[in-house]
Structures are given as C-alpha cells and as structure tokens.
Symmetry: C2
Subunit: 104 residues, 2 copies
DNA sequence: AAAATACATAAGAATCGACTTATCTATTCC
DNA sequence: GGAATAGATAAGTCGATTCTTATGTATTTT
C-alpha cells in the first residue's frame, strides 16, 4: 500500500500487463492468465503482489475471484511525482492541482 | 529509457531517495552518498541505473560529476498512467489533455 | 612528480524475486 | 457424495539485484 510496494509491483512486466488487461474491465484469475506462458500459481502470486500494493481489489463470485483495478491505487505514485517540483515545477504543480480538483 | 527501465529504477528505495535529493538541485556523487550506509561503488552503481533509465543526466566538472534530474525522464511514466482510461477514465483523460497542452 | 581525491569498473558473495511442482480449500456439477 | 474446477499456499530452484572489496582512471593539490 506504500509507494515502495507500488513501485515494486509495477517493476514487473507481467504485472503491468495484468493491470492493462484489467483496465479493460473486471477479470477473474483464469482470464488474467490467458496468453501468459506461466503456471496458475505464478499468476496467483502476481495477483497477490498487486493486491498487496493496493492496485487491485477483488470480489468473490462462487468459486471465482473477480479482480478489478482499485481506483485510488495509483494515488501514491501521483503524490510521489508531485514531489518533483524542484525540477519539473510547472507541469507537476498543475498536475497536483488538477488531481485535487478532481477529488471533489 | 523505456518504461520498464524506469519502473525498475524506481523500485529501489535508495534510488528514490537519490532522486528526491536531486530534486533539490544538482549534486555530485559524494553528496549523493551522504547519509547512506553504503560503499562508494554501491552508490556509483545506483547512479548508473538511474542514468540508464534516463532519469538523471550528468556533467563533468573537473574530477567531479555533477548529477541532475533529467527533465523529461519521468515522461514515460506519465504516459503509462494515461493508458488507464478504462478504470480511471475522467481523471486520466483530463490529465492526458493537460500534458498535451503543456508540451506546446 | 607524487599523493590525494572523485568516481567507475570488475569480480564475487549474499539476498531477493519470479518461477516451478505439489498440495490444499472452497465451490459447483453430475 | 464424488469428480471437476477455480484459486491460494508451500517449498524449493534459479537467475537477477544489491551489496562488498579490490583496483583502475582522471584530475587536482602540494
């Protein structure tokens, strides 16, 4: 849930791919596995990392788990980016303001 | 320089700390090492990773190297974030537009 | 020119991360 | 109830990362 967990989670290409897939809507674990040359447990472990980072959430539906992106999950990354006022001043400052507005 | 390199670079807490330090202005390698319980080569290696990811740039000044944040270094991360239209639709769509404006 | 300083590179050790197979639980289907 | 399905967890392997010490290369200082 910390920014450290998030950056670590995003460092893996498979997990980024899963997130992009989830950005198209809810998926269960089997659907998340499609196209990945990887065992079921491996996928399950990646899911656990994404959940641990607060980037996804789940809902049990029978014997399936429906995963979806957690809307605020990326917020710490945005917050972290806003600390770069020293070198990216205008762009980031405006980004910060924009996101604050949107939260209301 | 790819988004993969950047996320990997950001996954390490020491490197994030260095970036935050650099966001306060230029530093040389010795200054970047201050407060870190780590050998000089370790710091040098972290610097190499940040440079490889395109997040910092350097300028030789005598026997010192002055490091600074590379202004566009984080752009691929922002671009990646904008791909999340599916789950963060309004927020990201507006962000994308904003950044496009800023580039002009 | 010799010594000191700033940094990079090389090589190896230790730890971490991403996988595997095996197994477990919960649910659904017959 | 028994077999099949969806997914999680356990334990171990292997390669990648992050350190270390040793050494190399400029540059500056004396």
């Amino acid at each position: 849930m910390s920014e450290a967990d998030i950056f670590k989670a995003l460092a893996d290409p498979t997990r980024r791919q899963m997130l992009e897939r989830l950005s198209g809507g809810e998926r269960n674990a089997t659907e998340l596995r499609e196209g990945l040359a990887m065992s079921q447990p491996a996928v399950s472990q990646h899911i656990a990392v994404l959940r641990g980072a607060g980037l996804i959430e789940e809902e049990k539906s029978g014997r399936q788990m429906r995963y979806r992106i957690r809307p605020d999950g990326m917020a710490p990354v945005v917050d972290w980016l806003t600390r770069y006022r020293g070198f990216w001043p205008e762009r980031v400052e405006r980004l910060k303001t924009l996101l604050r507005e949107m939260d209301q």
